[in-house]
Symmetry: C2
Subunit: 474 residues, 2 copies
């Protein structure tokens, strides 16, 4: 673990600063938030939590026995750290797992290809499928293709993903994950391959969930690593007729248990500030950046606040709830279960924020507040600014697991992380603990701890006084 001393030096004088003149955050709360930042930067709690999860549980596919062990781990971890009302809220999900996947160029240049089946894909026949490749530069090109001509072929969507700091390249590129199989199936193809949705040039295919449209023949779909997509592209540049063999075996045995692990730091009122990450991961890596990091950051922030309360004897005005969501990757099952479970309490949810974008430093404070409440956001940003966090827009998603409650009107915040490298690791075997920088995750814990403390103690809330349609929109 790297030494964190620099951060402490950088912010050493912070608590000695006079509080800013703020309307909604009292000087005491502001100073407490600054103290939480300073202490969090000197703490390794965020890293320790993700280290514990990835080491003691490792990969934890939604609905698997490993995800169940992760829930047990979550309950024990929350209790160990002093959280209260620790519980598992169970639900069920349709289970899917991969058993086998392999591919190769059969002709004219025989060699193995590294693939991974996308989540939800059907398998191939036992002997695999062998067919000619038809390449499309983009998903749009496949969508624009005639409805005939692809019968019996393997469609290859070779679209690249753009690397961006804010992750916006993902929203575009991820469409092929479902789109390729559906468009291929409609046209009678026998399988689909995509260039991985990711930015890495290492030889890891990126998995991720896909979904079949109703009434479309289901064809198996897998992702190629970028070097393998390059290879197939080069083969096709040399020869119009490239044949690939592809075999995928998957299991879909029906419903399996999953669940959310929830804990609280009791406040003086029953109003709630909810934060969290998701507990499940894909099967290939150990789910360190996706989303062990989010669990570590939000649990770590909670732990900093617990210590603060113990030291000062001062409870927050509002209750702070930390959620380890289950079954995010395969379709936000935990988020939907949460929104359903707390449907009648959502008006008590003051604000929500999920950390689900790795462990890179937070650089922007985005909100989805009532437009008439943005002065509250501005006050919080002032306190977070020494962490290198600037103001963002008011169209925050709040993170995937905040979607269902955001759509029901709960204000959300996205503490936007630097995602420049995130999609190098996302959904690959390479998503392992060593990719997390302890200094960076500590900055995240600091930002969450301060944000949560301010939100739980500041005057008023973040909902528009006049309910506003934009809040509930996607």
């Amino acid at each position: 673990m790297r030494h964190l001393a620099i951060s402490a030096v950088f912010l050493g004088l912070m608590t000695a600063q006079p509080a800013l003149s703020q309307d909604y955050i009292t000087p005491r709360v502001e100073n407490e938030a600054r103290e939480l930042i300073e202490k969090s930067l000197d703490s390794t709690i965020g890293y320790e939590v993700v280290e514990s999860l990835t080491t003691e549980v490792g990969p934890r596919l939604a609905g698997s026995e490993a995800e169940e062990r992760a829930r047990e781990w979550g309950v024990a971890k929350f209790r160990e750290l002093g959280f209260k009302n620790v519980r598992v809220e169970p639900f069920e999900i349709p289970y899917w797992e991969r058993s086998f996947e392999d591919a190769e160029i059969v002709s004219p240049f025989p060699q193995k290809l590294r693939i991974t089946a996308l989540g939800g894909s059907v398998g191939t026949p036992d002997e695999g499928v062998e067919a000619e490749i038809v390449r499309f530069e983009t998903l749009q090109a496949l969508r624009d293709a005639p409805m005939t001509g692809l019968e019996g072929k393997i469609v290859f969507v070779d679209e690249y993903m753009t690397r961006t700091q804010d992750g916006s390249g993902y929203g575009v590129a991820v469409q092929k994950r479902s789109g390729a199989a559906n468009e291929a199936g409609k046209r009678g193809a026998v399988a689909a391959l995509i260039r991985s949705v990711g930015t890495s040039q290492h030889r890891f295919p990126h998995t991720g969930q896909m979904r079949y449209d109703a009434d479309v023949p289901k064809v198996p779909i897998a992702a190629l690593s970028a070097p393998d997509a390059d290879q197939l592209q080069r083969a096709l540049e040399r020869d119009d007729s490239v044949t690939v063999w592809l075999a995928i075996d998957v299991q879909s045995p029906g419903m399996r248990p999953s669940g959310n692990v929830i804990a609280e730091i009791q406040g003086k009122s029953d109003e709630i500030v909810v934060i969290g990450g998701h507990l499940d991961s894909w099967d290939l890596g150990t789910g360190a950046v996706d989303d062990g990091a989010g669990v570590g950051i939000t649990v770590g922030a909670g732990k900093m606040i617990i210590d603060h309360i113990r030291e000062t004897g001062r409870r927050p005005e509002r209750t702070i709830r930390v959620v380890m969501f289950g079954a995010e990757e395969v379709g936000l099952y935990g988020a939907r279960a949460y929104a359903e479970e707390y449907a009648d309490d959502l008006d008590k949810h003051i604000v929500g924020a999920e950390s689900d974008f790795g462990a890179g430093r937070i650089w922007r404070f985005e909100t989805r507040f009532g437009e008439d409440k943005l002065d509250r956001a501005a006050e919080m940003v002032k306190v977070l600014a020494p962490l290198g966090i600037g103001p963002g827009g008011n169209m925050a998603s709040g993170g995937p697991d905040m979607g269902p409650i955001r759509q029901r009107g709960v204000p959300v915040v996205t503490l936007k992380q630097n995602g420049w490298d995130y999609f190098d690791l996302h959904h690959t075997p390479d998503d392992t603990l060593d990719k997390i920088d302890p200094d960076d995750i500590a900055q995240n814990v600091a930002a969450y701890a301060a944000f949560v403390w301010m939100a739980a103690n500041m005057e008023g809330d973040f909902r528009a006084e006049e309910p506003d349609e934009t809040l509930a929109s996607e």
Copy 2:
């Protein structure tokens, strides 16, 4: 492919420079060497050759059908580029290939581990082996361990490799590749695992050849990727008793054909300057940096010289021979076959150099010449200096496939490449074309073309006038 224009600008005035005053290199040869450098930097031939090999053949394990296809590719490529006396010189090797490999932590923290069997390893029983791990920080610690206490265990040698520019970290770290199984076998262990011999922090295990000592029980051995070695290390920090299951299946069906692919550029005499790379690769990647690059660099240099001869009508004084060695990875079989085949001609071999260290820029000109001939090396370095190449020592290996002829007294040169990143890729699935920088490989082609041209045309040779024992030493 990246644009190479910068290199041309950088060296644009080179041919206009007056020749240095040199004793062994005539002004004409010197100017021709400079011209070869300039043209090579503007050429993409080196990259094109490795692109062709990795795309059209891909992985080419020694003794496999793919290596045979690589020889056919080599013959065709040499002919296409205008080389003469193109031939395959066959030999046989004991064949080994992997069929299956898998491992997992069984308890207390069940999760998959990414491993690869080392070349030459025996397999496990079909059901695998399951046993407690005993970790050793270094191979030396295992060597120092008592002869009892490891019966029925899996030995884990967790030694790290140091990243160095000159690759010297490899010589130390690679000892565990054979040492771990032999020391484990002697002590009654059931298997051995090593932290991969490599410097990458990506989740690729590095394969490589191992060899059993005579009279030692043969235990299966595999390498863990660095993140998996970290994981096992962390598990052992938490719990003394960590159980791992490991299954390896390999095939060793006996002797199989391999061969060297050889071609020449005819000189005025039968003296020979020999350069080359090795044609075989490990099975996991496509053998781009190891050693498609070396093939591309040396074949490319030859092609630059062929073009030069065509333009000027001037043959070199000496014959230039380019060799694509077979079966290097599994024990220098091609190199030994070459030394045997040309045993009576070795006194005609003026100098040899193999490129087998990736495609990084050459930074040092190392020799193994007679001490009384080092003034020749100094003259060549002066011409290579504008490429960023400085003088090196006189203990060059000449590259692995030069070993057998160097040991028989042939002077050798190592055009030492920057190997800082080489062991991130070496022997992994990630050894693919995209890792080669076209500018860097062009610099290599330029250096080889100029060196070979000077060596083939300069006065005198590089052997000590009084034969010197150091020349023949390892």
